[in-house]
């Protein structure tokens, strides 16, 4: 779950990480009031999208009137299709240098990794490889002073700035660990006359660990259907095509989408309804898909934990209660295959035993309709 900048900064503050003075506002009037106490300000739209600056979602003001005007303008905007509901009004920093600092998880090393660069402020992808320091952290000992000194040496940082880093980095690491973060990124990390200040905050929390952080607000960045799928604990992604797809397992679902495209069809979605799905779950998954008005329904089941008879039974139940008549391409093999096939065939549904046949049939049906 991605956190808004202002939430990230509130957390930074709790951990003693310096952030600019500022206030969250929801109207131009509030923005003007906030600016009155801050002098020169920066006004930042609070949306979960990068490149806010380029899209015009960040502005400056040197008095409350100007802040009022700029805030009013940004609150009318849509940034990359996202409505701006909140603004962060902050003191404008006196920035001497812009750095980049992030902590994330390195899957290859199975460890947290520090990313640091003296070339902050710009798009991280544009920073040349050799200008980005990558330093994995041994999680059993965490961020030690020597770690910070080593990163500073690699960055070419010494003296007062190194002292600042020695205070700053362990705090960021603590936050990263305590909050189950996947990413804690500061870009830019501003060098100011007062020391290091986090001018931005991009924090992403591991969805699988949200249960142990009940005080964090729920942030939604998904479509209504994707949210519904999330409630049902189904892995669902909306796509643009007309062939609705459900399969059991992320890999095989992806492979099914790939095969649909290979044969010239257009997938309407990715839906992995997981292993061991019972009648209720299967029904919910089906209902979700039918809600998208697809032309064809393609179901690809290779039962391991999942039992074919359970899926078949659920399918017939939903079809009978909903009475839908769109073409269905059903592939069913694996655990309790014979029972599952019998249930479907009795209900007049043709069953394919290979993925290839089922996908080709689905693509043909989509073309014909």
């Amino acid at each position: 779950m991605k956190l808004y900048e202002y939430l990230g900064k509130e957390l930074f503050k709790e951990y003693g990480i310096p952030v600019p003075r500022g206030q969250v506002v929801v109207s131009a009037k509030e923005a003007a009031e906030a600016a009155a106490g801050l002098g020169d300000v920066v006004i930042k739209s609070q949306v979960l999208s990068g490149k806010r600056g380029k899209a015009g979602g960040i502005s400056f003001a040197s008095n409350p009137e100007q802040a009022h005007e700029e805030a009013g303008r940004i609150l009318q905007m849509k940034l990359n299709d996202l409505v701006v509901e909140k603004l962060l009004v902050e003191e404008k920093l006196q920035i001497e240098q812009e750095l980049y600092l992030a902590l994330t998880v390195d899957g290859s090393a199975k460890r947290p990794i520090v990313l640091a660069s003296l070339d902050g402020g710009m798009d991280i992808e544009e920073v040349p490889e050799e200008r980005m320091i990558k330093w994995p952290i041994d999680i059993s000992i965490g961020m030690q002073d020597y770690t910070v000194r080593e990163i500073c040496r690699r960055l070419g940082v010494s003296g007062q700035l190194q002292k600042e880093f020695l205070s700053f980095m362990p705090k960021l690491y603590q936050l990263f660990r305590d909050l189950d973060a996947e990413l804690a990124e500061i870009n830019p990390l501003a060098v100011t006359p007062q020391g290091l200040v986090a001018a931005d905050a991009k924090v992403t929390i591991d969805d699988d660990a949200l249960y142990r952080h009940p005080t964090l607000p729920k942030i939604k960045e998904k479509t209504a259907l994707e949210l519904r799928a999330e409630e049902l604990d189904l892995a669902y992604v909306e796509l643009d095509g007309n062939i609705a797809i459900m399969a059991n397992g992320a890999g095989i679902t992806m492979a099914t989408l790939d095969m649909v495209q290979h044969y010239g069809g257009q997938p309407a979605n990715f839906l992995d309804f997981g292993g061991g799905a019972d009648v209720e779950r299967t029904s919910q998954a089906l209902e979700l898909l039918l809600g998208t008005n697809p032309k064809v329904l393609l179901i690809n089941i290779f039962g391991g934990i999942t039992r074919c008879d359970v899926v078949a039974e659920a399918f017939v139940k939903v079809r009978d209660s909903k009475g839908f008549d769109l073409p269905v391409s059903f592939r069913l093999v694996g655990t309790n295959e014979t029972e599952g096939k019998a249930i479907l065939e009795k209900a007049g549904i043709r069953v394919f035993s290979t993925m290839d046949d089922a996908v080709r049939r689905a693509v043909e049906s989509a073309r014909a309709s």
Partner: protein, 288 residues
């Protein structure tokens, strides 16, 4: 031969009294796995499928020493159970659960390293040395002995591919599921190294997917170290960037981990990449 596990491997099942734990213990026993004990705190003294249940892993290890353990424990409690197994001396730990928090997975991997233990998963179907021992949840009937080693990031897709091989009477030495999470214990390279050293494995099938850099790292390793033929299938060709396709790792972020990049890396390393799962069979037959 086969790798990691064989007929002699002694196995514990953690969470054996649960629905999944008991069902899959039955399936594993049927396959021939040497399950010597189960662990479920508070359920010591019971038995499941004729297997004695203990309260703690230490107790199980005193009574019924084992080398391997498989976890059927809800994600929030998996870290504790995994650390317990490693502390008690388990050398091969199979983590079935999905949704284990990322930081918990990192803790488990760090501790396993200090103990010199191998971790498979999390979010894996496990591993099977065909005809000998299965420590996992895959359907028994598709795993027959033969000359092909298979290593996969995803579960059901791997069954699909092994299913094609089995249907053409081509069996497997060992099939290893790495798991779909961002932090997993075994990587392609670890398993490839084992297959290269295993005299019974004549060819290797690698099942990958978009996201991360595991396939690129594997390609580099194959070019350098692997003499045996390697055939690959990759899922996610049609996936749009920025959308997470089920697995925690299966996402194209910042232009990295793309399908084309992976195909290019593998092809350059001499690996044949199949366009469809069924093509694997023909490609394997050409090699052995």
């Amino acid at each position: 031969m086969a790798i990691y596990i064989n007929k002699q491997t002694r196995v514990l099942v953690q969470g054996i009294t649960g629905k999944q734990g008991s069902f899959h213990s039955g399936q594993m026993l049927e396959y021939g796995t040497g399950i010597v004990g189960g662990v479920s705190p508070g359920k010591g003294g019971q038995s499941v499928e004729g297997v004695p249940v203990f309260d703690t892993v230490f107790e199980a290890m005193e009574q019924q020493p084992a080398e391997a353990s498989i976890l059927f424990i809800p994600a929030p409690f998996a870290r504790d159970a995994a650390l317990e197994a490693l502390d008690a001396g388990i050398k091969l730990l199979v983590l079935i659960p999905e949704h284990i928090p990322l930081h918990d997975a990192m803790d488990i991997m760090a501790y396993a390293k200090t103990k010199g233990a191998v971790v498979v998963g999390p979010n894996t179907f496990g591993l099977v040395s065909s005809g000998q021992s299965k420590i996992g949840i895959m359907p028994n009937k598709y795993f027959i002995p033969g000359p092909v080693g298979v290593v996969s990031r995803s579960g059901t897709l791997c069954y699909e591919i092994v299913g094609h091989l089995t249907a053409s009477q081509t069996g497997t030495t060992t099939v290893v599921g790495l798991g779909g999470d961002r932090v997993v214990g075994l990587h392609f390279i670890d398993v490839l190294k084992q297959f290269e050293a295993d005299p019974e494995t004549k060819a290797i099938v690698l099942v990958g997917e978009i996201g991360g850099s595991a396939e690129e790292e594997a390609a580099e390793f194959i070019a350098r170290e692997i003499k045996k033929p390697v055939i690959a299938y990759l899922a996610g060709k049609s996936a749009p960037p920025g959308k997470r396709m089920g697995h925690a790792g299966a996402i194209i972020e910042r232009g990295k981990g793309t399908f084309d990049g992976k195909v290019k890396a593998l092809t350059a390393a001499g690996v044949k990449v199949a366009a469809l799962p069924a093509e694997i069979v023909q490609l394997i037959k050409e090699k052995i």
